[in-house]
Amino acid sequence: MVHVPINVSSCTKLILYLTATYPSTATFLNILETVSSIVDLFEIGVPTNNPKYDGPTVRMTHRAAELKGMEALDVLKGNVPRDFVIMAYMEDHVDKLELFLKKCAEVGARGVLMPDLLFDYYEMVEKFVNECRKFGLEPCFFISSKFPYREVERLVELRPLFIYLGLQACSGVRLPIFIERNVKIYRNIIGDRCPLIVGFAIKSPDDVKLLKRLRVDGIVIGSAFIKELSRCGIECGLKLLESLKRALVE
């Protein structure tokens, strides 16, 4: 497995979001292999029946994934050629968190991101961090574009792998939000103490260039890739990632 450090640096990383076993297990594994030379890190979603904070494109992948939950996780073991973090909803695993995190570690995940943790299970943040560390996983945090400043400070103190700022209201849907302002606010609060990655509705080289100028440490591509995949297969998805990667390294 290729290990690329996720840290605060001048080099913005390209992160690809995929829902495990979408559109099928075989194609999913093929995608991982095909794009691994371009992508720095994978964010892999555990298919769920209730992808509550996701937009329509990612929701569709959860519904259409071949396997669900832990079964989909099993597919990852030894099959992800790059570092990856698991994205899962706490709602699905709150009653068996330890078991779930143990599984994440077993399949080789580097970290775990639970987008509903800070909104619906705020009292469980420290438990989540402790359990992650117990299994050698690095906790990751998702924050929205209107997250309380003091609470961001608290998250930084917990030394996550990264803090993921959602630029839009949900994944894949672009609203007229002044993302430069929001990124600057949270970059200023976090400073260089923790990597800041961003995602939601990023789809063009211009988007990537703008975000790079804003000194984010990673950008996550999800819905745009899935749409390309649906439109004309892996080749189109690959071309999109190549164009975004070029914009990142220019």
Binding site: P56, Y122, K146, R150, E151, C170, P176, I177, N182
Partner: protein, 419 residues
Amino acid sequence: MVTVPSHWYNIAADLPIPLPPVRDPDTGPSRIELLTKILPSVLIDQEFSGERWIPIPDEVRRMYEKVGRPTPYRRAENLERALGLKDVHIYYKFEGVLPSGSHKLNTALAQAYYAKQDGAEEVVTETSAGQWGLATSIAAALFGMRCTIFMTRASYRSKPQRRILMQVLGATVHPSPSELTEIGRKLLEQDREHPGSLGIAISEAVEYVLKEPEKRRYLPGSVMEFVLIHQTVIGLEAIEQMPEQPDIVIACVGGGSNFGGFTYPMIGMKLREEGFEKTRFIAVESKAAPKLTSGRYMYDHPDTSGILPLIKMYTLGKDFVPPPIHAAGLRYHGAAPSLSILVKLGIVEAVAYEQEEVMKAAQLFARCEGIIPAPESAHAIKAVIDVARKSSPGTVIAFNLSGHGLLDTDAYSKVLGIQ
């Protein structure tokens, strides 16, 4: 000399826990995506802004001055005497001096300004008591735009005064449910005398906008966070005007814009440990729509037909139709997400009152202070009286008198038996 604030305040930056994101329901098209066809674009940005202080555009500030901001902050000495209070001081911020007669104009001006910036020709909204509709009509007139209002049928009949004023200002006013929309027709089929509700009127307004989204923009009167943000001019001015820091701050709640507008700048200081450390904040609602005291904290639609995205709030359910009451502005099933969090965390206390006791308090206030309060605002007055009577000497109470009741003679005549 107090001036109009240069910025609005966004409490999201200071909340002890984050605001849960808006959500799409499990089925149907993305309601979040739909927002771009409904709302002025800057309002969407403000709804998702991480900025603590949001600059007020110069043109909006000039409009605030033009309509009479800053509004006065006064001491209710006669009320204190009438209650026999010993060294308990009561102050009120009076939004009723604005031409709309209520605080609603603070956000109507901002929203109409942004709608015009988007190239919209017509603004569309809902109203119950008519305060929001009147404010929107004034804002539309000042910015030279057409205005269409869906007014809950119960109020359309019982409160013709504000409806007439809206029409004088050039607005077109429809009783809701109406025959103009699918949801309206469906409800009228079930009950020709349906009293309507704010949730239904919102649904109709949104559906109407979606028929011509390039020309029309929907302006919400409460609940959305940007509405509360605009209303913070009230509290920001009040802080500058206060001769003494209050121990207890009170305001009424329909969707939360009046409460948030008055209290959030103070709650923000408390959360940042910059003042108001010992201040209690009390939200007062009607027992006819007791979402904060009897509702559930959950994701729900702000509108009855579920066109808008889900928001997490205290709610009685989107289909809840409150009984017709005089404080029609409080007849709403949910409370703004930020207010809901503050209540859930115990930072804001909530109480609910029956109409009769509220209107008696209103009468007492009128006879003491010479101002006839709106029935909505009278809920705050009732709470102030109850709290003041139990307070120890030295206590300072402040409340927001969000509107006057000069157009609510129907309410006063019925409840107080005045012919």
